[in-house]
């Protein structure tokens, strides 16, 4: 009961934030159009005008591949995925590959493809495990935070063991370590402008070893609560 309320809560917060900021999201908030996951699957599989197939990098399942260059997106909330694509389009998240693709997608395409991947979870590829000390260091940051630097536990927002608090907050459990490290650097250096009040601030306080540790931890911690809650 508590958990469900909290999950809804975060979504609602974002809904309100969007409601205050502009009109585009209030359309979807009012639910005028239901996203078409079938059409989203088509875009994922074969692309659309000016847009390559998402599956080329993210796999048809959303598991992406083990290179870690591309995030795992299967099972993230549709709301979150949609917002990321919009952020790529607006260059809130500037990215040489994703920004042109996002700009070429229509609002309906974005909603559809987000709906498709939200409802898919692929296998986890067999990845090498981190050394125990790194894992523990990452786990401590995730669960407790860093008292000396005044950093709160990642799980406060990202859910128990990084399971996510959809729709607003993405899961980290099972996310590729390389991708987490890369995004933390994007925040640290100011290229990623979303979440300036939380993620940018935290990324700037973490040193490279801490980022590597927490990323290694989350890549490995998938399972248990994660798959259950991230829906």
């Amino acid at each position: 009961m508590t958990r469900i309320s909290r999950l809804d809560a975060v979504g609602a917060i974002v809904g309100i934030a969007v409601f205050c900021l502009g009109s585009s999201a209030s359309v979807s908030a009012q639910g005028k159009r239901t996203a078409d996951a079938g059409h989203g699957a088509e875009i994922a599989a074969q692309g659309t005008a000016g847009v390559p197939a998402c599956a080329q990098c993210h796999a048809f399942s959303g598991a992406s591949d083990s290179s870690g260059a591309f995030p795992r997106i299967g099972g993230q909330s549709a709301y979150y995925l949609e917002k990321q694509i919009r952020d790529f389009a607006s260059s809130e998240r500037a990215n040489a590959i994703m920004s042109p693709i996002a700009k070429a997608l229509s609002a309906d395409d974005i909603a559809d493809v987000a709906e498709y991947y939200a409802n898919n979870t692929g296998q986890f590829p067999p990845l090498a495990t981190a050394d125990a000390a790194t894992y523990e260091k990452g786990q401590q940051l995730a669960r407790v935070g860093d008292a000396a630097k005044g950093i709160q536990a990642c799980n406060n927002c990202h859910g128990p063991d990084g399971a996510g608090i959809p729709p607003a907050v993405p899961y980290l459990a099972g996310q590729y370590a390389q991708y987490i490290v890369f995004e933390m650097q994007m925040w640290k250096r100011g290229f990623r402008k979303s979440s300036p009040g939380s993620m940018a601030l935290i990324a700037k306080q973490l040193d490279d070893q801490q980022i590597a540790a927490v990323a290694a931890y989350y890549q490995q911690v998938r399972g248990s609560s994660a798959s259950v809650i991230s829906k």
Binding site: S5, V10, I13, I16, Q152, A153, G197, L201
Partner: protein
Amino acid sequence: MAERLKPVNVVTVGVGMTGAIMGKELAAAGLKVVGIERGPARDTVPNFQSPAIHDELRFAIRKALMQDNVKETVTVRNSSDQTALPMRRWIGFLPGTGLGGALVHWNGQTYRFQPADFIYKTHLEERYGRNFIDAELTVQDWGVSYDELEPHYDRFEYLCGTSGKAGNLKGRIQPGGNPFEGPRSREYPTPPMKEPYYGALFRKGAERLGYHPFPQPASTLSQPYTNPEGLTLQQCVFCGFCERFACEHFAKASPQTIVLPAALKNPNYELRTNCQVLRVNLDSTGKTATGVTYADAAGQEFEQPADIVLITAYALNNVRLLLNSGIGKPYDPSTAEGVVGRNYAYQTVSSATIFYDTDVKVNPFMASGASGTVIDDFSGDNFDHGPHKFIGGAYVGAIMTGGRPIEFHPTPPGTPAWGLGWKEAVARHYNHTVVLTVHGASHPSRRNYLDLDPTYKDAWGLPLLRMTFDFPDNDIRMSSYVTEKAAEIGRAMGGKIVAAAPRRGPYTTTAYQTTHNTGGAVMGNDPKTSVLNRYLQSWDVSNVFVVGASAFAHNATYNPTNTVGALTYWALDAIKNRYLKSPGPLVNT
């Protein structure tokens, strides 16, 4: 026999908001300071982290952050002819304990009192004449003016990083803020929090009736902020767990996030936790304090000599410590003489609940303790009381603090109190209900006071504080009037059912109302009607200062924290710039 420790310059009894601020400032001024806290040490990391901190059963129901009332509680009765009984569970109000005090579990609502509040008696008599105020009310002036406190309000708000919109900057009314407020010297340190949906609904309804809604000033921050102590607070994520909980996000102003780290860095400052101060020790003349005696967690007693004793505990405990130490003359209701325990006041809180159809989805859980929208049109003396024959007022607002599952069960009148009908009503209304808070003033009465209980003692064998309180009729009339105004707003908000619940007597501690206990050691200009002079210095023992809401001569419309903060800096200013140069009474009798 108590072990005598090495003397220090300053001891603070309690390390909550006032103790932490004063300890930090005086240590920085070069004094040796010892902060004595009865509860445990605790910090944002690791103690306040999620998911443990979101345990509603542990914190909201079982009151894990509150004073341990197995060891120490308050006895309560409604009138002098009754026998008071101890509160064995905290329900009606929730005194905090532990490092950081109640500012760890507060909601973050950060109001200033009105200029008229500080000259209350003078102001009311000028406007309404001498016979307007009910005879039982012991309304009086505070001995300090709003203009004198303004820089200290400002300083406290900038310490907290309070999020809000000024309504009056140096006398110029600002759009979007509270047009009724006293003049501010500058804007809030951070912009207002985002308006939740319940706030937006309230804004529409209030505007429709011609009122002046504004975002509630919140010390749960709208954006990251670095305060003058160099401490950085973060942005609130609207998790809905403020009141009764600690903030895991560094987003709520608490001593841990705004001042304690600065104090603890200073080698002049020493913190002792799990130490219960038993009394302030006086010399043979009874006019000078020599320090305090406390018991540590093992029960071992220590005497800590000090040049200055700052009593900085919770308002009720401040009064109790004065009484148990024999400082000041206790109030006697039969003769109306004496001052300690006099002018105890509470807060007159009521509500109007608005039930909507299911198409209005309120999402009450997306909140902070202080997010929301309010009006000040019926606060304090913002409206003409002449026709109404009462004094005081209340702010009205949609300030739902989290919609947590165990505590929030809105049901319309006529719903069964239990069983299937109740369950169905809760499920139907949970997400479609807005509760308007009517947060009203509380006036001191001759009949209401604090003294020592003749029967019940605490774990250390000292008498408990006894509270004798019932709502004065004036406050009941006020509540009735303003709660009806809230109901009118509820109807203008489009509610299908509006249930007004004005405050009615007798006072009971079995339903939560507020923790705003005030008075009992009030400040003023006349030693016959106040315990402290205008600098919060004891009239009787000049090296004792008593800092907290216990100094309020009455409790105004608003939440007390900001005024306690302002008084803290006001008293500090007098201590640092006047008392230290020439110790002794700062006001001659």
